[in-house]
Symmetry: C2
Subunit: 470 residues, 2 copies
């Protein structure tokens, strides 16, 4: 077994006797790739080496590899052996948001520092919520979500994000992906055929829209953010105006206005994914785009970045004409437990949510500063782009560097990374008419727990120096 495989620490849990060995091997490999125990770009052992290692026939391994190559899980490249493929959306069957990495250090984007979760504050809020809850909270819920939480969010979103909102416009959901799924179903039922999304966006979001029967058109990104002028007759557009994911710019004011004009002219809707709008480090956060035109913009936020993805709590603030239909769509998948909603309501109204966000903002700001300083000091050839905001930064790689190589090199040293093209969260959706962007790393500096952050950054700078192209 080759070094790259051995160091990845993969245990395939494989039965190596009986008639099902080949199928078992295929399944074990698919599972390991899907769970990201085998990361894209990783070289797999030769069929001869793996067969010897597992004590099974070489043909069995070769057949399994051939099958997985045909299915797109593995890719054979001349001269460099067989590697774990970079999966396109169509193949992305399981969650592409980052699962826990098997590697000791993780700088992939998409997660806040979950070790900061305010356990005792949350428990206090839960105690109060459970004790104070009216009995009906334990029954089948109102698909709008608990009024207590919609009221608490109304105050918070108006104050912190400038959202123009009343509780009757708020629908509680389980996260942005869930909210998007509800919206896609409603748009589809109204006859929509296409939705626009930003280039390099999250693969999950595309999968949801496609799964609802919508075509996804890609909006190129330039220095001012999404190129709104490319919008056409789509039924809606998903934007990350506060902090584009993953390129990191804020949507320029003129573009915001253009998007609203497009919506007013065409009857389309703007879906504002405010995924990390609370975290701006260089100035006051730019207010939500929704406040420009509450009847044309859906505002969407979650507790996934501000508290933890594991809470599965999110919210939509809807234009009036969408409230009934989105509520109806939600009625059949009303998955948000009432006690969690009441706990978050209590967490917000008690002031704990604001305090937690202030502390988190300070912590992430320091992390970003440390990242920038470390790179300036030790890898000055790397350019950090994007505004001082959010939980991730884009590191543009100089000519000659390849994302795949850096990612594999980092994995061998125990650091999980992802790139702009090659990653768990993003995929290539460039418009062929736009220029290709340089290879880049998407660094989630919020991801590691506090005690591991300095070591992760040290590893990153070491990788960037040591794995530079020859």
């Amino acid at each position: 077994v080759s070094d790259s495989w051995a160091t990845s620490g993969v245990d395939l849990h494989l039965e190596t006797t009986g008639p099902g060995v080949r199928v078992g091997l295929e399944t074990a490999l698919r599972d390991a790739i899907r769970d990201r125990r085998l990361v894209p770009g990783l070289r797999v052992p030769s069929s001869r080496a793996l067969a010897a290692d597992l004590g099974i026939a070489r043909n069995t391994v070769a057949d399994a590899y051939a099958q997985l190559i045909a299915e797109g899980w593995l890719a054979a490249r001349q001269g460099s052996g067989t590697r774990v493929a970079h999966q396109p959306v169509a193949l992305t069957r399981a969650r592409v948001l980052p699962a826990a990495s098997p590697l000791p250090y993780d700088l992939r984007a998409g997660s806040p520092d979950i070790s900061r979760f305010p356990r005792s504050g949350w428990l206090s809020a839960a105690r109060r919520a459970v004790n104070d809850a009216p009995s009906e909270a334990f029954g089948y819920g109102d698909p709008h979500g608990r009024l207590e939480l919609r009221q608490a969010l109304t105050g918070y979103l108006a104050r912190a994000r400038g959202v123009r909102v009343t509780p009757d416009r708020v629908i509680i959901c389980s996260g942005f992906t869930h909210g998007l799924s509800l919206l896609c179903r409603v748009l589809r039922s109204r006859g929509a055929t296409a939705l626009a999304m930003e280039a390099y966006g999250t693969a999950d979001h595309r999968a949801v829209a496609v799964g609802c029967g919508l075509r996804v058109d890609t909006l190129p990104i330039d220095d001012h953010g999404a190129v709104i002028g490319r919008l056409g007759d789509q039924a809606g557009v998903v934007l990350t105006p506060a902090h584009q994911f993953p390129l990191g710019m804020a949507l320029a004011p003129q573009r915001r206005t253009s998007a609203i004009e497009w919506a007013a002219d065409t009857g389309g809707i703007v879906i504002e994914d405010d995924y990390d709008g609370e975290f701006r480090y260089d100035r006051q956060p730019v207010g939500a785009m929704q406040s420009l035109a509450p009847e044309l913009v859906v505002f969407s936020g979650t507790a996934s970045k501000s508290l933890a993805p594991g809470l599965r709590l999110g919210w939509l603030v809807l234009p009036g004409h969408l409230v009934d239909d989105v509520t109806a769509a939600k009625a059949l998948d009303d998955y948000t437990p009432a006690l969690d909603q009441l706990t978050l309501a209590e967490f917000i109204t008690s002031g704990r949510y604001d305090r937690h966000i202030r502390r988190s903002r300070l912590s992430y700001r320091r992390r970003r500063d440390r990242l920038v300083a470390a790179l300036q000091g030790q890898a000055p050839q790397i350019h950090v782009t994007g505004i001082a905001a959010g939980l991730h930064a884009l590191l543009e790689l100089p000519p000659g560097y390849r994302e795949e190589d850096i990612i594999e090199c980092a994995a061998q040293r125990g650091l999980a990374l992802e790139g702009l093209r090659v990653s768990g969260c993003t995929s290539v959706y460039t418009d062929s008419r736009t220029e290709e962007r340089p290879d880049a790393l998407v660094i989630g500096y919020g991801t590691p727990p506090g005690h591991a952050y300095n070591a992760a950054i040290a590893l990153l700078t070491a990788v960037l120096m040591e794995c530079a192209p020859a």
Copy 2:
């Protein structure tokens, strides 16, 4: 405004000035029907009376009524005025499981006694779960669900329901409807076109299957339960073998065997909805059908009847060939919060779950006995059918009684009821080749809180006597 309307206590929250009065009235009426503040069968006031009452033009009311009749929300019947329609599935836009009733007493089926929710025990389990949770529990989860809960359920389901299960076959979901939705998507992606469901089944379940693009074929019910011989080339069948909902019999042993044979012969799957399998009062519960053929039967259970629907926690035990596909389907709608899963795991392994079920079983058994005794004493013309199990009983009405009349009569006295044909949970899906069943009430004796139970039963017997046909 007529008595029937006035006594229903409906407040339409209507703005009665400005250009949007008619649209506002339509929306208010739709909302009230959808929320079941206006129950099916209720007579609405004449347009003249309502216009006078609201101080708006009669034509406005008449136009709104005409629109709602065209949309199917209202139904005009010669000689008996306009009434709230009995909504077919296609129109059932919002959750049809019972929302909290505006009436003081509620004997509709579908909910356990949520006032029995073990708040302090749940909080203790939550405290332990939150404190002991590994950090990764706060991240994006594994779509299988938390291993801790899958392990706890494995022990419980084997012990209490005879399920043949290992943790790798368990997928955590948000309830039966969610599990069914996952299964429907997988079956559809494998080319399925139809699913069979029992006659009189829950409208939500049909809506989910239809929403996935599946045709739903109806299986008639006779004294032995679902008529398995009517199954054809459907990809699966949803059964309630422990306690048919709503008719109340257990599926006969021969029928169980036939269903397994059908699955083995056709490659179909049996989806066992064990919605109240823990509650049998006259004998040991009949073990899960899944144990007969774990590779042909999906076992599905939830905490909705055993603890509370508001928890949104359920589980599927899957045949091996479905695990990967169902997990993949779940990956994009992974809505089950990790802390809730860990809390339930702790609640089970600490022994609290078994204790709560034992206590609940005793309480519901007493309630059923009291219902039966009250009817024997005061309404002996009413026949209680079905086995001594679960949370509901079927009350067959003698010739001449009409469900609609009893339901409206009860509503006027402050008691929410539903019938076999006319209800929130069920709809008419009889096979035209089978005989029509007599009108019947589906009594959810688990629904009222303990302090209101005797009064609810007293009201029920009073209604059955006083509202008898002339």
